[in-house]
Amino acid sequence: MTAAALEAARVWLVVALTLLGLFFSFVSMVGVLRLPDLYSRAHTASQADTLGAGFGLAAVALTVGLAGAGFKSVLLLFFIFVTNPTAAHAIARAAFEEGIVPWTNGDERR
């Protein structure tokens, strides 16, 4: 009975994590579509999306089980948490060095 309850808890945890992942990826998409300039878009791209991917991969790890392939998804999660902000930083810095001035309130929406 406890084993069944444990499995049910795991199933619903996977569902919850997946939904959270979808939600944050959705926020990331809305941000990238709505925000006015590259720098603010990089915010959601690096943060909301990292969290969305993190939740999604955590759900996968929980589904597969940590013993076997699940470890790879933990590795993947860790890797995405390190590389995503680095990539966003590199892109923002490239824009900065090109001389793109960050959008401020009062500027025209682009």
Binding site: D37, Q47, F96, G99, V101, W103
Partner: protein
Amino acid sequence: MADADPPPGDGASADGPVDSAETSGPSAEASDADATSGPTTSGPTTSGPTTSGPTATAGAIIVPVEPTSTLRSTIAHVAEAAANDGAPALHLVEIASWRDGDPESDERAAAAERVLERVAAWATADLDDSEAPAAADVEVVTAVIGADDYLFGADDYVRVLAEYAEENAADRVVLDPEYTPVGNTTLLQPLEFALSNTSLSVETAPVDRPTRRERFRTEATTGRFVALFGLSLAFYLLLGDPTYWFDAVTGVATAAVVSITLSRVSLDSTPAIPRTPMRIARGLVYVPVLLYEILKANLVVARVILDPRLPIEPTLNRMRVIVGSGLPLMTLANSITLTPGTLTVRARDSDLYVHSLVPWAREGLFDGSLERWTRFVYYGRRSARLPTPRERDDVAILQGDDATEELPIAAADGGAVGAGDESDGGDETDAAESIDDEVTDR
């Protein structure tokens, strides 16, 4: 060619304080003129040593030369400055770190000559390209100085430089930001300080310093080799099957290849027994804290983004952080980027340029809890208790109504780089849009 352009932000710095050409001798023993060998000419269109120099408004400029990564842009800046100010001559000097007669001194002198020849060619080309009318009057002179003497420190270098300056009626020294005559020691700051005690005017060329290459390639040590070998073997076995003999053999081979080729590149400090495990342990404490911060702030930012009115107020900010360079700085910059509402755009020395989406994110950043945690992870609990960046007054807002500093961006058309008030907004948009067009056309 982008190379031939003067570095951004020049011209403004070209009109520094210019002292009169007749300089008093810097010190009593410095009048020993023998310590300086005469200027030697080299390069395609250089002319002889300046004997008098047309006494223009400005004196000649001296640039100490060493083969550095920023040398090219420094020369471009100096050539432009010399042309604009009507300097009679541009002296490119190499201060000898050897003494004539030493073993290998001939080779080193020859190497110095080669460097000087190349630099003189650059300077001549830059002067030819220059728009300024006085550019044609600038003489390019190269010299190796100080080879008769052993030079021990910043003071000796300054003495030699001051003598050379007096002989050639120069009153201005422009330093390459990466200039380190002796090789490994960082001598620029003591050199700048000692030069400021003479009558010469000193400036450091405002050029972009590229990433230091030295940090990427450090000496190989057993500790690094072992650490990298262990890490890559563990990674390999995690992906494979640790109990299967074939994976173990190929894992050892792969880890050996990785650690032989990359152990000089991938770790920037040798792992030490008490320090590295402590850092890892404290890092493990930091992870849940960071995750909680990310989650909490992400929810708030999600609300801002999904709000139909989109109440954002983005600004660029500058914050000077005290965490050291290398890995700690990377950890802090990545943590800032991961925390919603803040994005590290640039890290220049210990200045972080952070873009913030909403004011509360900026305030949270200036409170410095992430900086404090980074210090805790890398240096322990005691160093975590430094004042916050706000208390240290190490913060600045670069845009918007509350701006306290100018935006350090190379505006495309040299127009307003204004932070300041709303009226600057139009200019900024125009500049940004012209760049956009350029980029999309490419």
